[in-house]
């Protein structure tokens, strides 16, 4: 199939979101015609534009292998990693490239994401233990215990889930899918004892109860982290914790 398409298309049109706050307060769509190569991902095409057509186009990228999380953008309205999305999927074009939704735009395709780092920090994404860390050996963790949280540890902080989340769109203070998944990553790690500390943040007005379980976060996640699943699981745990708080004194009595 690819070869036929190669013959059919020699160039493809990109419509790229431009926003240069130094020059204009209004964003616009700029068209670029680029040669079509079957091995190219969207990011290769953007690099072609930057190197050969327009050096002023700004966007973030780094590893080009789907693990650094820098290059998320909206491609034809869907949040994707542009280094892991092939051009051929969108033939014959045009292809529309926009910055990730639900974030303020600094310039062109570059979003402001420092807010996420504050949210991440707020869930205390580190191992919390009651005793001093003096052990000379590794903590024991069986493969099954590792498997309990491993999926949630795969988050690359690419922000696609925030872009897809309808709650983030309405309630910008919502802690959000990735940060909650990472909180769960530690909550479910048998080496960690910080569940209670994290609960304050996760149960707050801006925490998990905002989630309406649309599940778009899990659909767009390039690492199959399943933040929606993490949130659901936490709701169940949190609810049972609430029940226990209420019931135990009675039981004891």
């Amino acid at each position: 199939m690819d070869d036929n398409l190669t013959i059919m298309a020699e160039s493809i049109t990109f419509e790229v979101f431009r926003y240069k706050p130094d020059e204009s307060s209004e964003p616009s769509l700029q068209k670029y015609k680029i040669p079509w190569q079957k091995d190219w991902v969207i990011l290769d095409a953007l690099n072609y534009i930057k190197d050969n057509i327009d050096g002023t186009l700004s966007y973030r990228w780094s590893c080009r292998m789907g693990v650094c999380g820098s290059c998320g953008m909206m491609v034809n309205g869907k949040p994707v990693l542009t280094c892991a999305t092939f051009l051929k999927k969108f033939l014959p074009g045009p292809i529309r490239i926009e910055p990730l939704e639900n974030f303020p735009v600094i310039r062109d395709l570059v979003i402001e994401m420092s807010d996420f780092l504050d949210k991440l920090k707020s869930v205390k994404p580190w191992v919390i233990r009651d005793e001093q860390d003096l052990v000379e050996e590794e903590y024991v963790q069986t493969p099954d215990q590792l498997a309990d949280y491993k999926q949630y540890s795969m988050c690359i902080n690419c922000m696609l889930c925030y872009s897809a989340c309808p709650v983030v769109a309405l309630e910008p203070d919502f802690v959000g899918p990735a940060a909650i998944a990472l909180a769960q990553r530690y909550n479910m790690d048998n080496r960690d004892q910080g569940n209670k500390e994290r609960m304050e943040v996760l149960n707050a007005d801006t925490g998990i109860w905002n989630c309406t379980f649309v599940g778009d976060c899990s659909v767009v996640c390039p690492e199959n982290v399943d933040p929606a699943g993490a949130i659901q699981r936490y709701k169940v745990e949190s609810a049972s914790h609430w029940w226990k708080n209420l019931l135990l004194p009675w039981g004891k009595g």
């Binding site: 240069k20 130094d22 020059e23 091995d39 930057k50 190197d51 050969n52 327009d54 050096g55 002023t56 700004s58 966007y59 973030r60 990228w61 780094s62 590893c63 080009r64 292998m65 789907g66 693990v67 650094c68 999380g69 820098s70 892991a84 600094i106 310039r107 062109d108 570059v110 402001e112 420092s114 780092l117 991440l120 920090k121 205390k124 994404p125 580190w126 191992v127 860390d133 052990v135 050996e137 590794e138 903590y139 024991v140 963790q141 069986t142 493969p143 215990q145 590792l146 949280y149 491993k150 540890s153 795969m154 988050c155 690359i156 902080n157 990472l182 530690y186 790690d189 080496r191 960690d192």
Partner: protein, 582 residues
């Protein structure tokens, strides 16, 4: 007017594995010290994230520190400083356990202890791994852990343009805040550079776009020598076109390298006999330099395959089966399916050697200290040297921890002993602002295109300073690079915005790469022997009588770098033959 002067006790440039480990080290050593961490990308984007296979540290009963030291030293073709290697292997297990306590999801044995895997050039199984996303998990564990220290102040997406040096002491840096274009001075009592390597001097590399050697160039321009820059590691198994790395772990788990006839060609290059199961320090588990060199020889014999992106051979994992591939190297499968449309369970993977790592870097001692007072360095940007003429796979991630921690501790000690900062720093800052304005920000009349200069540099390095080099090829590269640096002076920057100007940053990065390219060429030209990754077709043998020493490249104003030497530190392992597979 917005703030253009900041102050901290220890300033760390770069927030990958080494930088974050250094930050935690300072924070733990003395909570009163104010730590600045400055990085041109958000910390979790740092290139440590791409490391796949694992991190070496002796932990199992059948292993010993001496074994790890010997593998490292022989793997480095006796160019490692052995005092540094001894410290490295001794501190490695403790560092790895610390990272385990910080939550790194290491792969486990059934009994819940940490699992280890074999790796190239290692005669025992000692490579800790988190499936095949080890660097990713290490980086995120370090970054998330670093968030709990309130003494750490991050400067995310700031690009450092120069060091502030007065009275022979490094006292901070000048940097551009990328989002706003603001130029500011960040004054500090000590500075640690942890900015990574410079694989982007070459066209075909596993390295991320950010690996432009900025920190190496900062030190070099401040008069610090660059050590052993001629030693550039080619990893034998990169995907054609993208240069995406297929981890050595795929061979450690039992993968074969096959030429176009389906023959395990490494047996023809003094690397042992082919066995069905992987044998340590043999065949596919030989060191990276020898495997990459074997590829070149095999290509010369016409026994490699030809593709649209150059010659290649096959990495065959099919006999490992679905279970091993999915459990031990799932990322390899994901990368192959995503980028090559190949499923390694059913098909062979096309691979070719690809620039992967700089053994050389900023000259440091075992404490991470450079010859410039107050300046420290750790990680790939530094050269201690534990990697010698060829780094063993899985030593670099451990190096980030061991020497990141040591540099942090020593920079903290240094900072605590300093009183005031020089009164001239503000003047130095203004000088730097003026330089940036004249050469880049307000420059007019330039004609040269950034991408063109970058492409030309790639060609010069690839043709003249690749896996095999000669006097002739290196002299040509030197002449060409001098000419290219001249052209760079007339660079044209079409973007004059102060908001997130990536063209400006790319130009500053390119200027760093050009300096580094030149240091690689000159160091290679002067070393008239073949050792590890530095292979001279015109001097095919190792020459311990003349070159059992580290090269030191010093920058000179408007001239090619000056090359000096200092002897390698030998403690217990006199130079010998590198023996693999026999």
């Amino acid at each position: 007017m917005s703030q253009t002067s900041y102050e901290c006790d220890v300033l760390i440039i770069g927030a990958g594995g080494a930088g974050l480990r250094a930050a935690i080290s300072v924070a733990e050593k003395d909570p009163n010290l104010k730590i600045g961490v400055i990085s041109k990308v958000y910390p979790m984007r740092s290139h440590t994230v791409s490391a796949e296979g694992g991190a070496a540290a002796v932990i199992k009963d059948n292993d010993s520190l001496d074994d790890h030291a010997y593998d490292t030293i022989s793997g480095g073709d006796w160019l490692c400083d052995q005092d540094a290697v001894e410290i490295f292997v001794r501190e490695a297990p403790k560092e790895m356990i610390r990272l385990e306590h910080w939550g790194c999801p290491w792969s486990r044995q059934e009994d819940g202890k940490v699992a280890v895997r074999p790796f190239g050039g290692m005669k025992k199984q000692r490579t800790w791994y988190a499936a095949d996303k080890t660097g990713f998990h290490m980086l995120h564990a370090l970054f998330q852990t670093s968030m709990k220290y309130s003494s750490v102040q991050r400067y995310d997406e700031w690009f450092v343009t120069s060091l502030l040096v007065d009275e022979g002491r490094c006292q901070g840096a000048v940097a551009v805040e990328i989002a706003t274009g603001k130029i500011a001075a960040i004054k500090a009592r000590s500075v640690i550079i942890c900015s990574g390597g410079a694989g982007k001097v070459f066209p075909f590399t596993t390295n991320a776009n950010i690996k432009t050697g900025d920190g190496i160039a900062l030190a070099y321009r401040a008069g610090v020598p660059l050590k052993d820059m001629e030693f550039v590691q080619y990893h034998p198994t990169g995907l054609p076109f993208t240069g995406i790395l297929i981890t050595e772990a795929s061979r450690a788990e039992g993968g074969y390298l096959l030429n176009k006839d389906g023959y395990r060609y490494l047996q023809d290059y003094d690397l042992g006999k082919p066995e069905p199961k992987p044998v340590l320090r043999s065949m596919e588990l030989g060191p990276r330099d020898r495997l990459s060199q074997a590829f070149v020889k095999e290509a010369e014999k016409g026994r490699t395959l030809e593709g649209p992106y150059g010659n290649y051979v096959h990495l065959d994992l099919r006999h490992l089966g679905k279970k091993i591939i999915n459990e031990k190297i799932p990322f390899v499968r994901e990368l192959c399916m995503k980028y090559e449309n190949i499923d390694p369970i059913k098909e062979m993977i096309p691979v070719r050697p690809v620039v992967h790592y700089m053994m050389g870097g900023i000259d440091t001692d075992i404490n991470g200290a450079t010859p410039l007072s107050g300046l420290f360095a750790a990680g790939e940007c530094a050269c201690v040297s534990i990697n010698g003429a060829n780094r063993l796979g899985s030593n670099s991630l451990t190096e980030l921890l061991v020497f990141g921690a040591r540099a942090g501790e020593n920079a903290a000690k240094f900072a605590a002993n300093q009183n005031g900062l020089s009164s001239k720093l503000d003047a130095l800052y203004l000088d730097e602002v003026q330089r940036l304005n004249e050469q880049f920000l307000h420059k007019t009349g330039g004609t040269e295109n950034i991408a063109e200069i970058r492409k030309t540099m790639h060609k010069i390095m690839d043709e003249g300073a690749g896996i095999y080099r000669t006097n002739e090829s290196l002299i040509k590269s030197q002449n060409d690079i001098v000419e290219l640096k001249e052209r760079f002076k007339h660079i044209k920057i079409s973007d004059n915005s102060s908001t997130f100007n990536t063209e400006l940053i790319a130009t500053l990065e390119l200027s760093c790469l050009l300096d580094i390219a030149e240091s690689i060429i000159q160091s290679g030209l002067h070393r008239k022997e073949s050792r590890g990754s530095h292979q001279r077709s015109d001097f095919a043998e190792r020459d311990d009588s003349q070159y059992l020493s580290h090269s030191l490249a010093y920058k000179r104003e408007n001239d090619i770098p000056e090359i000096k030497y200092k002897p390698v530190v030998i403690t217990r392992w006199p130079p010998g033959e590198r023996v693999y597979g026999r």
